[in-house]
């Protein structure tokens, strides 16, 4: 197991190294740089003439005049060694300040979505398998198809409408106005939780439908295996049998797609966030990219990719714990 852990950790580091290079290249890709943008903003309309020397000056101020490899190493070593993502030029403060809060909120949405997905899909999928071809099973199948078919933004609008007209609550944003600028407290955390419910349900909707069917199918396969009959033939009570044998294996396909789910949530989040007015990273990413505020864009890309890579890493570890065959094959 230790060997397996070391292997996977090294794998993750190597992956992140290549990811960081790619992110850096993406940061370099757009024509022009922040210096031009800055000069344009500052002096446009003032009638001032900007010379190449001025531009070079500005570049030197921002450290943009160094060769790319050097800038890359400065950038990445600051991140790795000091957790410092650099300067957010457009905001005239550090990137950490700009994205700090948003990252935590994005992660809160990610995790609450994953939790909602798994808490519903795993037990319900198992139940549907055990009661296959029953009324409940058919009802769940219909629900699943709805889940696949309904686009997220539509669901977001529907829930927004329902919660405003019937519950008189604001679903927009992640905090009620009272708490938005208040310091952290128990009440504020609860307020956040209550605001997380709606986005989590929306983002979890299709994943739940999908994972539910996966769990149901795996569980059905596992229920009919000889090893379950063998355990039954040992006199193991039915409920214990279900939990110990098929249920445990039915979780595997879900666990192995945690990274995939995280990826999907990140890509669906911006649209849902737009409808619900959530402060998350996606829109900031877009804006900073348009502004050529590259350290902000780079930080967001790097953090989101790292989250996905890390979720994949977690999923590998969980899978190895759940299924001893994994270690044997790969470790």
């Amino acid at each position: 197991m230790i060997k397996f852990l070391v292997q996977r950790t090294l794998g993750m580091i190597v992956t992140m190294f290549f990811v960081s290079i790619m992110v850096f290249i993406i940061m370099e890709l757009p024509p022009g740089d922040y210096a031009e943008r800055w000069a344009f903003r500052k002096f446009s309309g003032t009638g001032a003439q900007i010379t190449q020397a001025d531009l070079d000056n500005i570049r030197a101020n921002f450290g943009l005049d160094r060769p790319a490899p050097e800038r890359y190493f400065k950038w990445i070593s600051n991140i790795v060694l000091h957790g410092d993502f650099g300067e957010a030029f457009a905001f005239q403060t550090s990137v950490n300040n700009v994205i700090g809060q948003k990252i935590w909120l994005t992660l809160a949405i990610l995790f609450s979505t994953l939790i909602v997905t798994y808490i519903i899909s795993i037990p319900v999928g198992m139940y549907a398998a055990v009661r296959r071809n029953s009324l409940e099973d058919y009802a769940l199948t219909v629900f699943s198809y709805l889940g696949f078919a309904l686009p997220n933004f539509l669901l977001a609008l529907i829930l927004l409408y329902i919660s405003i007209t019937y519950f008189d609550t604001s679903v927009g944003g992640l905090f009620s106005p009272d708490y938005a600028d208040a310091p952290w407290s128990m009440d504020k955390a609860l307020d956040l939780l209550s605001h997380l419910v709606v986005p989590a349900i929306i983002l979890a909707w299709s994943a739940t439908a999908f994972q539910l069917q996966t769990v149901r199918a795996t569980m059905l396969d596992e229920l009919n295996t000889l090893s379950v009959t063998a355990a039954r033939a040992r006199g193991v009570p039915e409920w214990k049998l279900l939990l110990k044998y098929p249920a445990r294996l039915a979780i595997n396909p879900v666990v192995s797609t945690i990274g995939f789910d995280a990826n999907r949530i990140f890509s669906e989040l911006p649209i849902v966030a737009l409808v619900l007015g959530l402060p998350e990273l996606g829109q900031l990413l877009l804006k900073s990219y348009l502004d050529l505020d590259m350290f902000v864009a780079g930080a967001i890309l790097l953090i989101l990719t790292f989250m996905i890579v890390f979720m994949n890493f977690l999923s590998d570890i969980f899978l190895a714990i759940l299924d001893p065959r994994v270690k044997l094959i790969e470790g």
Partner: protein
């Protein structure tokens, strides 16, 4: 109905008039139809027949392990004498009753043809043996582990302590079948059902497992129902044999009766199909034709469609009555019924 003349007190198991059907999309399939057999304490009954003849279905029903779409006919009975001396009809037990759970493993244990898939791949061998022990004996976890390790040792697994901690895929096929036997015997059953326990193993391992089973039976004194489609294998282990075909018993007798003096054309054909060392080079006489599908079961004797000695107008009309050739030997065939008439 035939008379069972044996003293019923001796019988550990009495299966009477067993009829089992399955509800399927294509209709109702009758897999076992009117089967009777008995097993005494410490005795080995062999059940032999081609694939699909209903060997597994009729014996799994003793532990009520058949899937939910199976129906055991109301007139069937499976009477089993428990260790406490009480006789229960297993067909009448509730599916989730504690009594049934105690019988599963504690009174009747089962080993399967596929030792690989009968273990769960995600738990150690030791976990699965301990589970069996804990289910049926009032012992602590540590004691269960000791019993399990002891059992692994007894079935001839070297380094049992180490094997205890290993996963099924870390053992060889023969080793896994030994472990499967260890699981079954660790629960101390009075009856062991061995459903083709050696079919998936190669010949030398097969012989070792048969020898092991014989040894353990002498040591522990349990009765065995040994299922196979190979009469050659069964001759080495069984005291008496039932020959099954398409859900019906066609011939029954002691091992000697069946092997040395087979009467039913089906039994004779099965015997001709065994490869023999002294006949190497001769063509094996496989039985011609295929087993009919249980969906289109022939009326009359189920074997008439492939029988060399079929009597047209008789065999295809009704099932023959049992003909007693001796105290121990019974055959269901018109060839003999006629002589008696």
């Amino acid at each position: 109905m035939e008379n069972i003349k044996e003293k019923t007190d001796d019988n550990l198991l009495e299966v009477k008039n067993l009829k089992i059907s399955f509800k399927t999309d294509e209709g109702i399939i009758t897999a076992v139809d009117g089967v009777n057999f008995t097993v005494k304490h410490g005795e080995t009954l062999g059940i032999v027949g081609e694939s699909g003849s209903g060997k597994s279905v009729s014996t799994w029903s003793i532990m009520r392990l058949l899937p939910k779409n199976s129906i055991i006919d109301k007139k069937s009975s499976i009477r089993f004498r428990k260790k406490d001396g009480k006789v229960v009809d297993i067909t009448k037990l509730k599916a989730r009753s504690k009594e049934l759970r105690k019988i599963r493993g504690g009174e009747v244990a089962l080993i399967f043809q596929e030792p690989m898939s009968s273990f769960s791949p995600v738990y150690t061998i030791g976990n699965q043996i301990s589970e069996a022990v804990l289910q049926h004996r009032d012992v602590s976890k540590e004691e269960a582990q000791e019993i399990a390790i002891d059992m692994l040792d007894r079935v001839g697994i070297a380094n049992p302590r180490q094997r205890f901690k290993q996963y099924p895929f870390e053992l060889s096929g023969g080793m896994r079948q030994r472990a499967m036997i260890a699981v079954a015997l660790s629960m101390n059953p009075a009856l062991l059902i061995a459903d083709e326990p050696t079919t998936s193993l190669d010949v030398t391992i097969q012989a070792q497992i048969l020898e092991l089973m014989n040894e353990l039976q002498e040591e522990l004194g349990m009765a065995i129902i040994f299922i196979t489609h190979n009469l050659g294998v069964i001759a080495q282990v069984a005291d008496k044999i039932e020959v099954m075909y398409l859900g019906k018993i066609l011939e029954r007798g002691t091992t000697k009766d069946i092997i040395q003096n087979p009467q039913h054309p089906y039994t004779q054909a099965l015997l001709k199909a065994i490869p023999r060392l002294d006949h190497i080079g001769e063509r094996l006489n496989a039985i011609s034709g295929d087993i009919p599908s249980p969906l289109s079961r022939p009326t009359g004797c189920p074997f008439y469609t492939r029988c060399e000695k079929v009597i047209p107008g008789i065999c295809d009309v009704k099932m023959p009555n049992p003909t007693k050739l001796s105290d121990t030997h019974t055959v269901y065939c018109f060839l003999y019924e006629e002589k008696n008439v």
